[in-house]
Amino acid sequence: MAHVHYKFSSKLKYDTMVFDGLHITLRDLKRQIMDREKLRAGDCDLQITNAQTKEEYKDDEDLISKNSSVIVRRIPMVGVKSSGGKTSKTM
């Protein structure tokens, strides 16, 4: 049972996501967090950054290793409305 700790940037506490294996892909992690938090809006996306290094995970196939802590930010998706689109920065 592997864990990844995630915290929304505006919230105060960390939550934990459980999965099998040593890593989880960025795409899977995003989908799981969106399911857990019931984020269903078609134009919402998540920006995931490593809590220690502050590096953003950009590619859907990026692997996040177990026991990491990540910061999650809800961001509006530009262009593509369907879920599973690539992360895009709008700022």
């Binding site: 940037s9 505006s10 930010r73 809800r74 961001i75 509006p76 700022m91």
Partner: protein, 693 residues
């Protein structure tokens, strides 16, 4: 859009000219209003609402893009859910620690409106953003402000004007470092039965952030609208139908109740037909309305003295469905306004299949809600449980939502002429049309130049404001009149954004600051003879005075360093400033040197002792002759008439020992390189022999 200036990393936020406006919600949409304003290191949040067409976390503005702990001030314009629906969550569940302000009526109604919202939400308790308890606890963190009352928080000055729209709605004027910004929230320039029209501020803002809900539409006239409404209700009850009017318990409902009560009064044939105002909070809500009459218009304030118009003759309160006997035609006003859930949804579902019934949508509907959906007249609708029902009842849209229309917005902007206008709170297309129309209005205008922006959510608008800095000279510096070009020097005192120039002696008069001096004391172990030390110091400084009258040997060096000879050490004392510190360093070096080898210093150069003013002339000449003979050869150097001369390859130069000037001999060749060489050599020898002091 204003051109983005490259961020200057070295300029601190406090001094920067950059002003940033970023909508985290209501940017090219309606719902979850939340606008961030950053200027001079201050961060302000305007409104904190939820999106009525979304649920759970989806309904929140994009708060993750800012750090709640950095927000200094939060201003709420009015009690509608899309402006304050996320406030309990923001206050209780994030790191926000700034101050929150709203008008008195807004705070009172916020309490009950959000309570109603929590009750009618049909999503499970875990998914709710906040509970009734969070709402109660948030109340003490909210501070209130009166209309036109000026408050100052963290150097930000702000006050508010009446906005119309709903009871207690305010337009906030914010001033930071002389730059003024007006946030309208939702406003209406038309007076209605109980509210006044939005005021036009007497102070002109530099930036206007305005709603654009109705874009380029023009509302129908008020009398026409009211007549259409009343006729539609009459028609529905005439054909034995039930008339459903979904509205929130507080807000436009009160205006509609006033209209219906008056209409029923004038139509005795309708007196048998009941009008119900369905809300479990109705009594509390009406009590609030009766309290805050001061925020209403003059007409109603006069009427209150005679006969309370909010005590209705033909309208009864309905606490819940259980109290409702659904027999015969009736008019029911129920919440919520967009029928996502709750009583209005239940009634809708039970009445929609009968074509005698009718629903009147009386307010603005947000995309994604059932109310918006039925306006497109679909064949069937889905119930809360997922069942499909035929939609046979009539659907009418008569908007009383009291938002500004194109005429009103245009007039408002014309009166204020703000150089920058930022559009928020409008659907993308409506907003784009409004932007184009406003630009068209002013494009041929030479004198007035207005830039219109319509940022998307999370997109920032960056503007630059270079303010003039004014510093007031006070106290004794102000005694004399200043002339242009005259230098004034003093201490610059900055308080928030006010600057004063004072002389140090006035500091305690005008501020809580006081002048102090720092004395430095240094004790250095010293066991050598004090007379040796004093003579060394004399050669260093020249300016060494014996201080009379003290028991221990005390000398003053450079007129500022006091040296006292104690047992086994010397103590230096001086007033700390860069010059004195440097002198003290030099004195300390001498002391340490004498301390480390007292014998080596004994033999003094007789040259230095004898002639304090400079080098002995004879000795200089002697040494100069020796040096030149070494450089050019013995027979090139001659000494005559108290002048030395050097001859090389036919070129002769004369050296005057007093002035040390090197000149060519008359009639000989002029070799400049040679002359320079001799000149440099003479100067160097002189400098080497000349003592520093």
């Amino acid at each position: 859009m204003a051109a983005k200036r490259k961020s200057d990393v070295t300029v601190p936020a406090e001094e920067s000219d950059q002003l940033l406006i970023r909508p985290l919600g209501a940017g090219q949409e309606v719902g979850r209003s939340c606008i961030i304003l950053e200027f001079k290191g201050r961060k302000i949040m305007l409104d904190c609402g939820i999106h009525p067409g979304l649920e759970g976390m989806d309904a929140l503005p994009y708060i993750d893009l800012i750090d709640p702990a950095e927000i200094d001030l939060l201003l709420i314009s009015h009690f509608h859910l899309d402006h304050c629906g996320a406030l309990p969550w923001f206050l209780q569940k994030t790191s926000f620690k700034g101050r929150t302000f709203m008008t008195h009526a807004t705070k009172a109604i916020y309490r009950w409106l959000l309570s109603d919202y929590v009750k009618v939400s049909n999503i499970s308790a875990d998914d709710m953003l906040y509970t009734e308890t969070d709402l109660e606890e948030s109340m003490e963190k909210i501070e209130t402000i009166n209309f036109h009352e000026v408050k100052e928080v963290a150097g930000i000055k702000f006050w508010c004007y009446h906005a119309g729209h709903v009871l207690g709605a305010a337009m906030f004027m914010i001033e930071i470092a002389g730059v003024k910004l007006l946030y309208t929230g939702d406003f209406s320039r038309q007076e209605d039965r109980h509210l006044m029209a939005a005021e036009i501020p007497s102070v002109k803002p530099d930036i206007l952030i305005t709603e654009s809900t109705y874009g380029t539409h023009i509302h129908e006239k008020r009398e026409e609208r009211e007549a259409r409404f009343c006729n539609t209700v009459h028609d529905i009850v005439n054909r034995e139908g039930r008339c459903l009017i979904p509205v929130f318990a507080l807000g436009r409902a009160q205006e509609l109740l006033l209209i219906l009560d008056e209409y029923w009064q004038n139509h005795p044939e309708l007196h048998d037909i009941p009008i119900y105002y369905a809300s479990s909070l109705a009594r509390k809500c009406m009590a609030v309305y009766q309290t805050y009459v001061n925020a209403m218009n003059d007409k109603i304030r006069k009427a209150i003295n005679v006969n309370n118009p909010f005590v209705f003759k033909h309208i009864s309160n309905l606490k819940s469905m259980d109290h409702f006997d659904d027999i015969g035609p009736s008019v029911v006003m129920a919440s919520p306004g967009m029928m996502q859930s709750g009583l209005s949804r239940e009634l809708f579902e039970s009445w929609c299949t009968d074509k005698r019934n009718g629903v009147i949508i009386a307010g603005y509907c947000v995309e994604g809600t059932l109310a918006k959906h039925i306006m497109s007249e679909p064949e069937e609708i889905a119930t809360m449980s997922g069942q499909k029902l035929q939609l046979k009842m009539s659907v009418d849209y008569i908007s009383f939502s009291a938002h500004t229309d194109y005429q009103q917005t245009s007039e408002f902007i014309r009166a204020l002429k703000p150089p920058h206008v930022i559009l928020v709170h409008g659907e993308q297309n409506e907003m784009a049309r409004l932007k184009a129309a406003l630009i068209r209005e002013y494009e041929d205008n030479e004198e007035v130049h207005i830039e219109v922006h319509n940022p998307r959510n999370t997109e920032a608008v960056t503007l630059n404001f270079r303010g003039e800095k004014l510093a007031k000279v006070m106290g004794c510096l102000a005694d004399k009149k200043c002339l242009q070009g005259q230098r004034v020097s003093g201490i610059l005192v900055k308080r928030n954004f006010n600057y004063h120039i004072l002389s140090p002696s006035d500091l305690s008069n005008y501020t809580e600051l006081a002048m102090g001096t720092v004395m430095q004391t240094q004790a250095i172990p010293f066991t050598g003879p004090i007379s040796l030390l004093v003579s060394q110091l004399r050669s260093l400084a020249g300016d060494v005075e014996q201080v009379e009258g003290s028991e221990k040997i005390t000398v003053k060096i450079f007129k500022s360093i006091t040296l006292v000879h104690e047992a086994g050490m010397v103590v230096l004392e001086w007033v700390a400033n860069p010059l004195n510190d440097m002198y003290a360093d030099a004195v300390t070096t001498v002391i340490l040197e004498v301390q480390s080898n007292p014998k080596a210093q004994r033999c003094q150069s007789p040259l230095i002792d004898a002639k304090k003013d400079g080098v002995d002339l004879m000795m200089f000449l002697e040494r100069l002759e020796l040096m030149l003979q070494d450089m050019f050869g013995g027979d090139c150097v001659h000494f005559k008439n108290k002048q030395l001369s050097v001859t090389v390859d036919g070129c002769t130069v004369h050296i005057d020992p007093v002035t040390r000037v090197v000149v060519f001999e008359e009639g000989g060749t002029d070799d400049e390189t040679f002359r320079e060489m001799v000149d440099v050599a003479v100067q160097r020898l002189y400098d080497a022999l000349n003592p520093v002091f």
